[in-house]
Every structure is written in structure tokens, then in C-alpha cells.
Symmetry: C3
Subunit: 211 residues, 3 copies
Amino acid sequence: MTLTTGLDLAAVFVFALTGALTASRAQLDVVGFIFIAALTAVGGGTLRDLFLGRLPVFWVKDPTYIGVISVAALLVFFTAHLLESRYKAILWLDAAALAVAVPAGVFVALSLDHGFAVILMMGVVTGCFGGLMRDVVCNEVPLVLQKGELYVTTAFAGGLAAVLCLWLGLPVVFVLLACGSMTFLLRAGSIIFGWSLPVYRPRPKKDGPSN
Amino acid sequence: MTLTTGLDLAAVFVFALTGALTASRAQLDVVGFIFIAALTAVGGGTLRDLFLGRLPVFWVKDPTYIGVISVAALLVFFTAHLLESRYKAILWLDAAALAVAVPAGVFVALSLDHGFAVILMMGVVTGCFGGLMRDVVCNEVPLVLQKGELYVTTAFAGGLAAVLCLWLGLPVVFVLLACGSMTFLLRAGSIIFGWSLPVYRPRPKKDGPSN
Amino acid sequence: MTLTTGLDLAAVFVFALTGALTASRAQLDVVGFIFIAALTAVGGGTLRDLFLGRLPVFWVKDPTYIGVISVAALLVFFTAHLLESRYKAILWLDAAALAVAVPAGVFVALSLDHGFAVILMMGVVTGCFGGLMRDVVCNEVPLVLQKGELYVTTAFAGGLAAVLCLWLGLPVVFVLLACGSMTFLLRAGSIIFGWSLPVYRPRPKKDGPSN
């Protein structure tokens, strides 16, 4: 098993858990669990492969992924009722999956000899799009867009950390570790302490009290 | 005309009808009819071709599809007012299109020598994604996600039937017939008799009557 | 810089402005601005490249685009509060971007020697899908679907104009100018004068006054 496959498999499994938990909140049946789990789990990596022209996409080349997703979906279907808060579980599993998927995207772009800008973008795409599709299809407010949260920003910062380490000439394992840690720590800080960037707020047009 | 082209053309025509009918419910103009019809009709097959790396996608290789979609959209634009219930027409045409699109997806994966898991997935992707895009863009609740309905499940069962027949070594025509029939019969049963799988329902936390 | 690159760069910059302005209406942070700007700016061209099998997609081949998008997003982030009406700015910038993106799509299909139907479709895809993704993700009513507006229709008419000029054997520069002008004039007419095509309205079933 290569490093790419290992990272992809881990991200796929954990994203599939979040997809299945979202399906449980939408009260779908077991096939709906598998469908949303699959969409979430392979969404980001599939876009990455399409954009890079790495076809057929990873889960067609190696159907192990489909098995892993089905296992994750069934696991959630039969055990989700044991959870205190499914929303909290989604949040934290999603953070973990993000912290694996961003380095997975970075590593694929790196191994195809792309430049820094593309490496950064592939980290963001691989990390963010699975969860975005999950939320758009299930009609939840995309985590990507929630105010007062760092989400795309954490993937972006993870990608920047990777690019910085590459530029410094550090070994690949260190690059990926730095990328994943940066992503996870920022995301965890945002969940626990409410870390966020200032949002855009239009300047009021008049100074009157009625404004 | 090859078998793939024939199956694809039939699925494209019928899905285009459902797209145009959805556009009529959203009161779009005639170009909006063609746009939504095209999105619905080629959505699933386009994703299938992308995932498999079968590029350019089928409707770029053979522009007949674009003509077929335009005819379907115009047909609906000028005759939809004759229908008793457009919603019912959408339901049944969608069921018919699904029962052609799933074998179309299965056949393409089969003719590219993919394994059982990929064949199954391509049936589901080709069948379900056109309707999903139609519903997300038109802001209807996706048929894919409606509770108490079999939808993805029917595509899944159709794919399983195909894989089973292949495993038994049956001839391809029979494989495709079994796949389409299984899909259609389950979907029809779901529409007429309300067949469904049990949905996920969290176990109540307390036994009190207020729960 | 080739003509394709020039057209793509211009469309990307202007679409990125509309994406960032939509992000400002959703009160996102600066990374959210870049994310939505990128989705809008490269959405249509990315789909075009995928459908045509022109991989890796244009912004992976030439990362200049990513820089251009970031500049546009930052520009909006720091100056949007100076605008009288962000909605009006989005409308008009979107019209300008559409009038560049449609010829950009036409030109790519043309230079790959595709037929008229594919040239027309690629104009529509390149023009319309970036804005559609922006609106679906930000949960705004897609401009594509707003009643009493010409939108897809203007892209469609631009594509038809291009195909007509090609059929007449006119030089490519003229083809692209005709395509862009037709698109922009129709869109501007729709915004200013409310030009529209008749929308589908079901015939009332009874003649009674209560209908």
C-alpha cells in the first residue's frame, strides 16, 4: 500500500462516517446512508483527479474504497443511536477527515510534479468539496460557509504550511505532517475556542442612530 | 447504432422529458426548458464518462443527443398543459428513464472490462445523478432523498441483479434486461404500493410518554 | 499570450469579482471570498475542459488564473463597502463576464475542430455554470432560473450568432465579437428593459372566475 492510498483510504473512511451521520439526521434508509457516505467520502478526491486528468478516478482504479465506504455507512446505521450528539460527532470526525484529506490532495499534486499554487489548490479541493457536496445535497448550511468558523481557511493554511515546508526543502513525510497538523489544530481551535477571521461587514452609510 | 448508443439515447430522451416537466413547474421560458432537460438527461452519463476517463463525454462525441434533448424539451413546452398531473408524469417517466439509464451505465462499465464493484457503481451513478442535479438546481426536494421511497435503492438493486447475472455467466442482453426490470419493478412498487426500506430512527432516550 | 488565454483570463477576473461580491452579501471571511470567487470564476471553464477531455484543466496548466482570482477577491474584500448597490454591481459584472466567457467557450471548441452543436453547447456551459454554482452554493436563487429574465438564453443566442458567422465563413475574430456582443446586448436589454421570453404557464382548466 502506497502512502497516497493510505492517506486516501483514511480520509475516505472518516468522511464516510460524517456522511452517514448526516444521512441519519435526514432519516434516510440504509442505501441512502451508503449514497451520502460515498458522495462525501470520494467527492473531494474525485474532483482532484478530474482536474488533474488522473483518470479513471481513484475509486474506479481500486474498488477497495467502495468497500470501505459501505462498511462505514453500515457501522453508523447500526450504532448512531448510541451517540450523545450526532452533530458534535460530525463536527469532530469532519475535522479529522479534513486533516487527512488536505495532505492527501497535496501529496497527489506533489507526486505529479505540479507547482506550489496547484499543490495548494489540490489540498483545498480534496479537503473541502466532499463535505460541501454532502451539505448541499442534504440541504444543510454548508460547514464551508458558516459564519464565525474557520473551515476552508484551515485547509488553506494546511496547504500553505505544506508549500512552506516544501520550499524549505524538508522531507515529504514532514511536509504532510505539518500540513495535517496545521489543518487540524486550526479547525479544533475554531470548534473549541471559536477562532475565526473577521467577516466582511459593510460600513454603515450614515452615522445616524437609526442605522 | 450500437447497443450503448441505443440505451443512452432512450434514457436521454425520457430524462429530458422529466427535466422539461420540472422546468414547467418552475415556469421557465423555452430556453430554460432546454437547459434543465439537458442537465437532467446527460448529467448521470456525463459523470460516468468522467469517472471512467471516457473523454470527451458521450454527447460531445455524438451531438445527436443534443438534438434529441431539444426535441423533448419543445415537445413538453407545447403539450404539458394537456397533462392531468405533471407531477405524476414526472414520477413515472423518471422511473422509466431510471430503468434504462442503470443498464446503460452497467453496459459501459462492462464493455470497458471493469470489475463488479465498478459496474454496480456506474449503474447507480448513471441512473441517479441526472435527476439529483435537476432537483438541486430547481430547488425541489431530491427524489433521491425522499423518505418512504425507494430510489437509489432501485438503481442499486438493478446493479446487483446485473452483477449476479454476470457472475452466473448469462449473456449480456439478459444481464441488461434483468437490470432494467429489477430497477423498474422496485420503483413501480414503491410508487404504487409505497414499498420502502425502514428509515433510520434514533432510539428514544427516555421511556416517558412525552417522548 | 494566446487569444484563448486572454479571453479566459478576462472572464475569470470579472466572474471572480461577482463571486466575491456574492460572498460579501453572505458576510464570509477573506478566505471565503477567495473560495467563492474561484468557484464562480473557473466553474464554467472547468466543466468545458472536463467535457472536452482537455486535461488537466486550464487553471492547473497555468496557475496565473489562481493569482488573478485572489487579486479580484482581495480587491472586493477591501472596497465593496464603497459600492452603492452590490446587487446591481453583481448583475452588470456578471453580464460582462458572460459576454466574455461565452466566446471563450466557443473558441476552445472551435480550436479543437468540434461541430456546430458542440461549439454552441460549450459557449453555454462556459458562460452559465460558474454563476450557477456560485448561486447554488451561496443559496441564492440562481440567475439562470430567475423568471422574466434572459440569461441562459443570451448565452444560447451568443452561441447561435457564433455558429451563424462560422457558417458564413467569417474570420474568427469577427465570430467571437459577434458572439460576445449578441450575449451582452441581450443581457443588458433584459436588465434595463426587462426583455424576456414568454414563460410556460399552464392553461387554466376551467373558465370559472375562481380560477
